[in-house]
Amino acid sequence: MWFVGLSNYSSILTDEKFWQGFGIPVFLLLVQIPAMLILAIFIGLLYERIKHSEVYRLIFYLPYAIPAVIASIIWSYIFSKTMSPFIPLLKFLGFGQVQLITLSCLPWILLIIILWEWTGYTSLIIYAALLSIPKEYTEQASIDGANYFQAAFYIKVPLLKNTVLILFIFNAIGALQIFNETWMLGGVGNFSLMTLPPNYTPAMYVYHQAFNYGAFTYSIAMALILAAIIFIFSFAFMKMSAKVLQSHE
């Protein structure tokens, strides 16, 4: 048993398919999460400036109530070439046969789904952090002649650093274990609108190894390695949270 266990780990290290699966998490880490954080900061600043902001806060937050599985089903239908409400428009423009649910477009569709799900929630956290910034800071700046945008970008945004960092780590943990969205978009065989390679994300590869390829112990070893990678992020998350808590005291 002991040797089998060890050999599992060593073969994972050389299993290209497992590491290829990290393409999507890395894409989310480098593109989706920064895009979402920038958007959320923008929306957070927006809340301070618009009328009826509580209505918009609720509207933007609502997608968070929808489970990822269902959000992915609905968005995949909206992007499908059969049911999309945009088909008549696309046909009119001469793109009648355009197929969006493809392997190359999928990261971008994933990006839209996750932005839709999480931006509202994230912007609320940003907003809470913005509210905790003492008014005197920006008042002083405006006395000194700074306009609204200068006050926002040079005074408020830098003060959001810790909150944004925590949000980044929190989202990175989610990105590393992404499963539901990609599974609904292309993992469930002929239920989904396309079929994705089994190693499209690390978590999907773990599932396929365990239940479709019968390599159960191998997949558990992979899950543990993935968990260890996630734990590094979690550890950073805990460290950061502790630091922020202390700075508030």
Partner: protein, 273 residues
Amino acid sequence: MRKIHNTGFQMAAILCSVFFLFPFYWVVISITKDISQLYEGTFLPGVPSHMIDNLIGVFGFNHAIFLRWLGNSFLFATMGALLGTFFAALAGYAFRRYAFIGRKLLYILILGFSMVPAFATVLPLFIIFKNIGLLDTRWCIIIPSIVNIFGVYLMIVYFNQIPQELFDAAMIDGAGDATTFFRVGLPNILSGFTTLLLLSFVGVWNNYFLPLVLLNSSEQFPLILGITTIRSLQGFPIYNLVIMGAFITTLPLLILFLVGQRFLAPQLTGAIK
């Protein structure tokens, strides 16, 4: 500061709203359509409306198995939320009130394990349930749902906020642990208790991976897994029924989020004056 560029900001907010509301709108119009109306791909509700047909279709699918899924979802989520939160509160109480051997170690373990991703624990659960012969029964969803490690961590935090004087007063009055827990502990953490209750309900209701791995027969499925198996005899999804099923699955969540907004949304209190 003067309110400048207000119309610009307002326009941006409206634009964002369109993006965030669009899928909701699309689902609401789509549940009135049959499959050929869906394929027409318009922004308007189906005429004539097939909403009733879709409702009948989804509840009648495969000998009314949808009702069974609905019941399962409520069973899993209610049991998981109530028992999970209650046990977590008991743990929180113990950590607050007692200095026991390994207290600190246990705390670190709880904190660490609350970070372990779900899929890493589901595979071992598969083996455990297989060995004790509970695989593919509703127990293998209920039992793991009761264990809420992050909840335990939250409860420790909540209980630590209760002032020591309250416990001292209860002790002087001769209250035992049970009385102190129910009369002093719980009432003082009620808002946190409610938050955790709602969060766990939503968490179990939405949990897709656990039943996907542990369940095999359709009768044991919760809604979230069930609706992904609404297929025709040829094996293709029946899109109009899937959308209706997804709508019904989401409805309790939306109600919960609107009613319990105070407990579920990130807290702005303390910041708003």
